[in-house]
Symmetry: C2
């Protein structure tokens, strides 16, 4: 039998509450996944010592703890059920130090991602990862899911920008991983192990992030195509022309139709697929435009990024007007991208449910957005999409993580031996299974 | 008591030998570190099944196994002592598949690194990591040490180019990690855990690597400076000008003097420090040259890479004429680079031993090369350099790994809790400690 956490929480010396409205607000995330009940309490640590004391006592009492940033998870990773304690890291939101010479920044987990980028911009630098949620999600949450974003095509995912971490383990001990240097191979890569572990191995209380030079100039190119296959092939041809775009976004016919309906635009009439690319190097945009001109039906070039990316930005708000969106997230080898979009359209037809597909074409990462209020239909449709991802040699998740939503499928992707090893890793780091139970693996 | 491996090796159905000259040749690497004795045998697997059978029997017999690529380790990671079985992966050297559309290549561990790059070049692509040993070292060895190279400044280390691995575990089971896609967050990042683990967690039998577009044009810039501090500051100023050089190599006074003596050049007379940068984007070279012109005493620009990088390439052969080189490998925050070079010069003076320092300035990764045939002096001097790295907030190794050489120092860098966790990881993956014992952690 477990103790009611409210018995040991006073001894932790941290701010906490069991007020119903606060507790309920911290039990859900943006996945729409319903928690099993109501958490016992929400803790608001102000520093690493608060986290250490809370975890030590929770571990002793075998209380499940759900670490939480801004709760923007799309997979149920931040949902918290009956009897849990939510560790809300929102108050640990300081940018501790930024070194322009080292091109590094040290942050607490509750810092909003876009704020890190803005702080870097003051020094001619940027924090490259830009998940769509970057104005509302936290660095801690981005690290927990190894978040991606539009600029991944060139700069990689969150993992590629994390140099080192301070982590509190399940039993309250604190360790440092990685280094403050841009390279290090001292010992096993624990940093990479914590990144993407969805709060199931430890709680990040500080991170050293790598910054990159901000680009001198950016050019955006939008090209319409008669069909998705031609658009996907054109995207691959850009790499063949030896250019690495920063952004390569592909919008399918259903998405263009949704945008036109909501915004009064006429994107669909130009072609059934829209590819939006952004380049940074001087001269690269000309090369890209030259590659696209023949296969495309229309090409626009802008040195002001805002205009041509508007369609991409407006996609989700437009789709939301059609009904409740379930945003999926699979990745396939880039050569299977068109195949994937077409087969997703076939799944939509089979289930008679609208699916709009956006893709980070540079990485083969697709976001099929299933539009329905019917949970069961959504889940069955998503299941077919996961099946498709594995059939095409792809993965269940490119950048959103496993959460609760994809957990039943994970074993299929990993295989029994690797899955067993992952569970053993979890047991090693968290013997009593108190950290975000039921998530990630 | 352990069994003589020659008793169980016939049952493994693999090519093996205990011929003295072969066994001795596989007992050493390029570190100069003496093995404890002579291995019992060398196994030459031809495929993953050979590796699985060998490890299963070795695990049952508790025989220590030393996986080996080309034996180019500089830290003793490939040395094999009394009673060990060396697993020489040199015959597993096929490039299995290269997909230009996916920008990926699947390779066996024994492939020479430069051969992967050459195969990619045929498709306008490149394999970015380029350790100095790339013409003689293998991909398997590069993965084992998370090898770096000159182009890390822009493209990162080996880890940043490894998408997925097939790994045989200590007990002979085989797992797949990561994905064949450019992004995936399904489960914990086992790929990153195996990269840099120096063959102590498992044996890589296949790797899926990421390729990048080959650059359209490359420009090299060489700038001489009156002193190392000005050169290091100029290197940082380049990033401040929003340019990410591909290569940023810094050569100190002792190195320039050695090159001049060996090659009849007059580099030292131009300045006490030489910075060689390479850029890829059009226009970037002009920006870099503009930044360097004021602080430098001389700046040369070449659109033909070979000429200006010659000094860097000739550095090690020139230093070797002074005596036996021990190539060290520390990294410090970039802002401490000049400090590090100057304090290394002070260490050289204190021990009365020549030290020539080369640095990958973009990453703050220094290679102090200690020139002496006196093992004890070399070790004491290296000890002071490790101490310095930790004092400056740096790391014991940027890209060569821990091996046997730096093992006594590792606990200092990791701290007791993280070090203990690393040992527990090792025990989880390899309960009987058969994989490359005495290395890495």
């Amino acid at each position: 039998m477990t103790t009611d956490p409210r018995q040991w929480l006073p001894a932790a010396g941290v701010d906490w509450t069991d007020e119903a409205d606060v507790v309920v607000s911290r039990s859900i995330d943006r996945s729409g996944w319903p928690p099993s009940g109501v958490p016992a309490a929400v803790v608001f640590p102000r520093d690493a010592a608060d986290v250490r004391r809370t975890l030590r006592l929770a571990n002793d009492a075998r209380t499940p703890v759900v670490p939480r940033g801004a709760g923007t998870s799309l997979t149920g990773a931040s949902t918290a059920g009956t009897g849990t304690v939510v560790l809300d890291l929102g108050r640990m939101n300081r940018i501790v130090a930024l070194s322009p010479e080292d091109a590094t920044v040290v942050v607490e987990p509750g810092v909003i991602t876009a704020d890190v980028d803005r702080a870097a911009a003051g020094h001619g630098l940027r924090y490259a990862p830009d998940p769509a949620s970057h104005e509302i999600s936290t660095i801690g949450g981005n690290i927990a899911t190894n978040a991606g974003g539009l600029r991944c095509a060139k700069y990689g995912v969150t993992r590629d920008s994390v140099l080192g971490l301070d982590v509190v383990l399940a039993d309250g001990r604190q360790i440092s991983t990685g280094a403050t240097t841009l390279k290090s191979v001292s010992g096993y890569d624990l940093t990479g192990l914590f990144v993407g572990s969805e709060g199931t191995l430890g709680v990040v209380v500080r991170a050293t992030l790598r910054l990159r030079p901000a680009p001198l100039a950016t050019t955006t190119i939008a090209a319409s195509f008669a069909d998705i296959a031609t658009a996907a092939a054109a995207s691959v041809a850009v790499t063949g022309a030896r250019v690495q775009p920063v952004i390569a976004e592909l919008l399918d016919e259903a998405t263009l139709t949704a945008i036109d309906a909501a915004q009064g635009t006429s994107l669909r009439s130009r072609g059934a697929a829209l590819l939006i690319l952004q380049t940074e190097g001087a001269g690269e945009a000309d090369l890209v435009a030259a590659v696209l001109r023949e296969p495309a039906v229309a090409v626009e070039v802008s040195t002001d990024g805002t205009d041509l990316l508007a369609a991409r930005r407006l996609a989700l708000p437009s789709i939301e007007r059609l009904g409740r969106p379930l945003i999926e997230d699979i990745a396939v080898p880039r050569s299977r991208l068109a195949d994937a979009v077409l087969q997703i359209a076939a799944i939509a037809e089979r289930h008679d449910v609208p699916i709009c597909t956006l893709a980070h074409a540079g990485d083969g990462n697709l976001h099929p957005i299933i539009v329905t209020a019917d949970d069961d239909l959504a889940r069955r449709t998503a299941g077919d999409i996961f099946e498709l991802a594995l059939k095409l040699g792809g993965t269940l998740t490119g950048e959103h993580g496993i959460g609760t939503l994809k957990r039943p499928w994970l074993g299929r992707e990993l295989g029994p031996a690797a899955h067993a090893l992952q569970r053993q890793l979890k047991d090693l780091f968290d013997p009593y299974g108190i950290l975000n139970p039921g998530k990630a693996i």
